[in-house]
């Protein structure tokens, strides 16, 4: 008996500890839903459900998703924050690691979640599609012993924004010459767990672990529970030394796990606020609910506090009350030391410019990301011995080739007066320097390696995968290239990603070539008519020249013409000629009026005067006197 029990226990222990394979069949379908209670619209759901299910796995588990696209447009799926060690082809971004999944196709995502645990999420990586609802939470549970904190219950929470129009429409209005300032489209509402006015029932005297994900695509949000504090224990899958704060500032794509201790008494209920950072909005519509109120409910029988007023004054008041912690100062629990000095420093100057089609684009060092004709990963795999040559990946993809195990610094100078959360696929990075907001738009704060205040890097820097840069400021990130793959680095404000605010890392190309890409992925490319062999222009051949030949590649729009073009000169000359002819006509017509009548009268008058005064001869000619006498 005892032996049986022991065997059972062992088997159970083994099963619960040994990695599982989670198989999902995700059929993308349209679902009509009314997320904010004011407007029903078509959302993208999975298996006719929206919001999307939360995926929960344990560390070292394997995930298999059969992703079938039953929509009218292409799709893809990215697992935000997961390293995809050795499985770069499963990362998800379109034209970077895979072809878009065409309507009717099925794509297989099959990978293991290793070396990490925490709060993550998954979302579409095709344009701005995840605004239409293709987003969900992914939790990788660590084993009980690894938690350095105690909690009674886990609660999963997402925040985000909501647009009433479909994202393709919003995008076309945004990227148009009628939006010359590049003003980002303003959402119609914010969401709390994909809905509004949420009540969270809690029991007194308990500790709750709140896993919070910002699944929005534009605005950062403030979170705060009246009279309660948060204790931050995890950021972007990195456990940190507990930090007690009165509010959270969470940018899109970031995650935080916080502990909330409920009060011992059940006399009151409290407001749980999620507030849009309205500084990120170029225009503030009067009917936008910037401040949204939800409730932490201890006692259903007690009155609920009324929703907090939603106006500018209220926003200012609330802002003054909150002191969100600067995530730069979070200390990872693992206390990883500052990585050694970088082998490669990549400096990115970010600007927004209006190009020749009147649309504002985002550029790094003057280059705005344009997707290549062949997904970059397939270029790596097919280019053989030329894979180490940066030119293979195109001149307009901002590609940087880095070698295995190099330490890389990313210096990003934000020359735009906006807040931008940047995300690196495949890695977490150390945030080693970040400047405050630059107050002078004309003279943004740029990283200066000789400035000691820019280079006093912390001993144990904060580590995460999505970090916000301040307006007109900079940050420096450092990571080790220990994960061969093609990794996208981009602003997670999807509107800016569409404007081209991205770079591509080709990390250890020859190591990448050792990874296996399953046939299903190549088949998927056939159905979306995308080539899988060739450089960024789709060219290939036997020689190096053919691989470096970028003729036909996708490039960004030409810049605006600076000054007069041929068209202008022609117009100017034409106008001048016509005006000269016009003036001449006026002259010709005008001079006709010199009155001959008057001059005749004057001449007659003159003759009269002369005659009366005897200065003129009489009318007859002297010489004709004979004639006169004769007549």
């Amino acid at each position: 008996m005892l032996i049986l029990r022991v065997v059972y226990a062992l088997v159970w222990a083994l099963l619960s500890v040994s990695p599982k394979t989670h198989v999902f069949h995700f059929n993308l379908t349209y679902v009509d839903a009314d997320a904010d209670g004011t407007f029903s619209r078509r959302m993208i759901g999975i298996n006719n459900q929206w919001p999307l299910p939360t995926i929960r796995v344990k560390k070292n588990d394997r995930i298999q998703i059969h992703f079938t696209n039953l929509l009218e447009t292409k799709a893809s799926l990215h697992f935000h924050g997961l390293f995809q060690q050795g499985t770069n082809a499963m990362d998800g971004p379109e034209m970077v690691t895979q072809c878009p999944v065409a309507p009717g196709s099925t794509f297989l995502y099959d990978f293991k979640v290793t070396k990490q645990a925490g709060t993550y999420w998954y979302h579409s990586h095709s344009g701005s599609q995840y605004a239409d609802g293709l987003r969900g939470i992914l939790i990788v549970e660590d084993t009980e012993q690894d938690y350095h904190f105690h909690f009674d219950e886990e609660v999963v929470l997402s925040v985000g924004e909501h647009y009433h129009q479909e994202s393709s429409e919003v995008l076309s209005k945004f990227m148009s010459r009628y939006n010359p300032t590049g003003a980002e489209p303003i959402p119609q509402n914010s969401l709390f767990n994909e809905t509004k006015n949420v009540t969270w029932h809690v029991e007194p005297g308990k500790t709750y672990l709140l896993r919070i994900v910002n699944m929005g695509l534009f605005t950062s949000q403030y979170l705060s529970i009246e009279d309660h504090t948060f204790t931050i224990v995890e950021a972007d899958g990195v456990f940190v030394e507990p930090q007690e704060v009165d509010s959270l500032y969470i940018a899109v794509a970031q995650r935080y796990s916080v502990l909330v201790k409920s009060k011992k008494s059940t006399k009151k209920n409290y407001r749980f606020l999620n507030i849009i950072d309205q500084e990120m909005l170029d225009v503030l519509p009067a009917d936008l609910q910037v401040i949204s109120t939800n409730w932490m409910v201890y006692n259903d029988d007690v009155e609920m506090p009324s929703p907090l007023e939603n106006n500018d004054k209220s926003f200012e008041n609330q802002l003054a009350k909150m002191h969100p912690f600067d995530d730069f100062y979070l200390v990872p629990l693992g206390k990883e030391a500052l990585l050694p000095d970088a082998d490669v420093v990549i400096t990115l100057d970010f600007t927004m410019d209006v190009l020749g089609d009147g649309v504002t684009y985002a550029s790094f060092n003057g280059v705005s990301y344009v997707p290549p004709k062949v997904p970059t990963l397939y270029s790596v795999v097919s280019s053989g011995k030329y894979a180490n040559n940066q030119q293979v990946y195109g001149s307009n993809t901002n590609t940087f080739v880095i070698q295995n195990n190099e330490v890389v610094d990313i210096v990003l100078n934000n020359m735009d007066p906006g807040k931008h959360p940047f995300h690196l696929h495949g890695h977490t990075f150390q945030v080693i320097s970040r400047s405050p907001e630059g107050m002078d738009e004309e003279d943004p704060i740029k990283f200066d390696p000789n400035n000691s205040s820019h280079t006093n890097y912390p001993e144990y820097p904060m580590i995460r995968d999505t970090v916000q840069v301040h307006p007109n400021g900079f940050f420096v990130l450092r990571f080790k290239a220990d994960n061969p793959g093609v990794w996208f680095f981009h602003c997670h404000v999807d509107w800016h990603l569409e404007q081209g605010l991205a770079i591509t890392f080709v990390e250890a190309p020859f190591e990448i070539q050792k990874q296996k890409i399953i046939p299903n992925h190549y088949d998927n490319c056939k159905s979306s008519n995308v080539s899988t062999i060739g450089n960024a222009a789709g060219n290939y051949g036997e020689t190096k020249e053919s691989w470096l030949n970028l003729q036909g590649e996708n490039v960004q729009v030409a810049p605006l013409p600076a000054g007069f073009t041929t068209k202008g000169y022609v117009a100017m000359i034409l106008c001048t000629l016509v005006a000269v002819y016009g003036v001449w006509s006026i002259y010709k017509y005008g001079m006709e009026d010199v009155n001959s009548e008057d001059t005749e009268a004057v001449i007659r008058k003159l003759y009269d005067i002369l005659r009366t005064n005897g200065a003129l001869e009489p009318e007859y000619d002297d010489g004709d006197e004979e004639l006169l006498i004769a007549s």
Partner: protein, 379 residues
């Protein structure tokens, strides 16, 4: 500079002042030739001359007062109702101004025609018989007695009010400070030219002056027309971008690239000093559109076409390919006002002027003498 001196207003006032002076000079010329027995009695002559001057002066004065008051109150009452669709209004006013200027410009090149027209008009007015006996006794008596006061008074008043309306239309989109100076200059210029015309007749030098000023006027009008069209396009673009794109300066994104013919980031007439003069005189835009360039050319072509037609009509008496048709007949008002029957031949005109010479006006003694039109015996 455009904020202190509005060139369009200058020309409108110039033209109206010129016409007023012509009226005065024509009446004075009639007096000299013998109207109202002026050539018989120097005292009567002086009295009548004084009537003319007082009438004209009073008419002009009242106009200035009314005009000043009108424009003053107008500016006092908020112009801000238009600030929302400012570009649209600017465009409309530019087009109105162009039309007004174009219409009044060409007659300036035919100053003698203008003088002739006034001679006939005034002669007719002086010779008109009252239609009924009752009318004869009420107003007729007074106006006949002081005909040479009322005639210039009413004429100048009417011309002046016309000028006020024109000035209002032309200058409505300009700041109030740009009014006084051009009005004064226009008055002075008009008076000077009228006086020269009176004493020296239409000489070559006067004509050249008129030609040059008309050329400038039409250059300005062409620029205005182009500017009006530009404002319309700018308004449309602003509506589509949901804001005032021009407020962002002259750089990229402040104009519609699809409609642009040329664009330079400097020299913006709306914001850069000095370039507004270039714009006022020649219609310069730093960001030209197809609309503004094409409209500029079309305007000039239209002006040239009209001039060619008028030239042809003067030479041959009718429009090309259409004997019996003149430009006057193309004007719908021709038929409304029944001007056809008002046309006089040269002989009829001579007869008219002879009658004016011998026209007696009411003298101080109250005796009324009238000559009927049937009395063709010249004195």
């Amino acid at each position: 500079m455009v904020n202190v001196f509005n060139v369009q207003i200058f020309f409108v006032v110039f033209r109206e002042a010129l016409e007023a002076v012509i009226v005065v000079s024509v009446l004075l010329a009639f007096l000299k030739q013998g109207l109202g027995g002026a050539s018989d009695d120097p005292l009567v002559y002086k009295k009548l001359v004084r009537q003319v001057w007082i009438g004209a002066g009073l008419g002009v004065l009242i106009c200035l007062i009314i005009g000043g008051a009108f424009i003053g109150t107008f500016y006092g009452l908020g112009r801000d109702i238009w600030s929302k669709s400012e570009d649209l209004w600017e465009g409309i006013f530019c087009i109105i101004a162009t039309v007004l200027i174009s219409v009044m410009g060409i007659p300036m090149l035919r100053i003698n025609k203008m003088k002739e027209k006034w001679r006939v008009k005034l002669a007719r007015a002086l010779l008109k018989k009252p239609s009924s006996r009752a009318e004869k006794w009420k107003i007729g008596y007074l106006t006949k007695r002081y005909a040479l006061f009322f005639l210039p008074f009413i004429t100048c008043l009417r011309e002046g009010l016309e000028a006020v309306v024109f000035v209002g239309g032309v200058g409505i989109s300009e700041p109030a400070s740009s009014f006084p100076l051009p009005v004064v200059c226009g008055l002075i210029a008009g008076i000077v030219v009228g006086v020269l015309l009176y004493y020296f007749g239409s000489s070559v030098s006067l004509q050249i002056f008129l030609v040059i000023s008309t050329c400038i006027l039409y250059l300005i009008a062409a620029g205005l027309f182009s500017r009006g069209v530009w404002f319309f396009e700018n308004y449309k673009y602003s509506q589509q971008t949901g804001g005032d794109a021009a407020e962002n300066g002259s750089g990229p994104g402040t104009y519609d690239i699809a409609k642009s013919v040329w664009h330079v980031n400097c020299c913006n007439p709306l914001t850069d000093h000095g370039w507004d003069v270039f714009n006022a005189l020649l219609g310069w835009q730093n960001s030209a559109t197809y609309g503004s360039v094409i409209s500029y050319n079309i305007y000039w072509l239209a002006v040239i076409a009209v001039l060619v037609l008028m030239y042809y009509e003067e030479k041959t008496g009718h429009l090309p390919f259409a004997k019996g048709l003149t430009l006057g007949k193309l004007n719908p008002m021709y038929y409304v006002k029944g001007k056809k029957k008002d046309e006089l031949t040269q002989e009829e005109k001579e007869e008219l002027f002879e009658q004016v010479k011998h026209k007696k006006l009411v003298s101080g003694s109250g005796a009324e003498e009238e000559l009927s039109l049937t009395d063709k015996e010249a004195k």
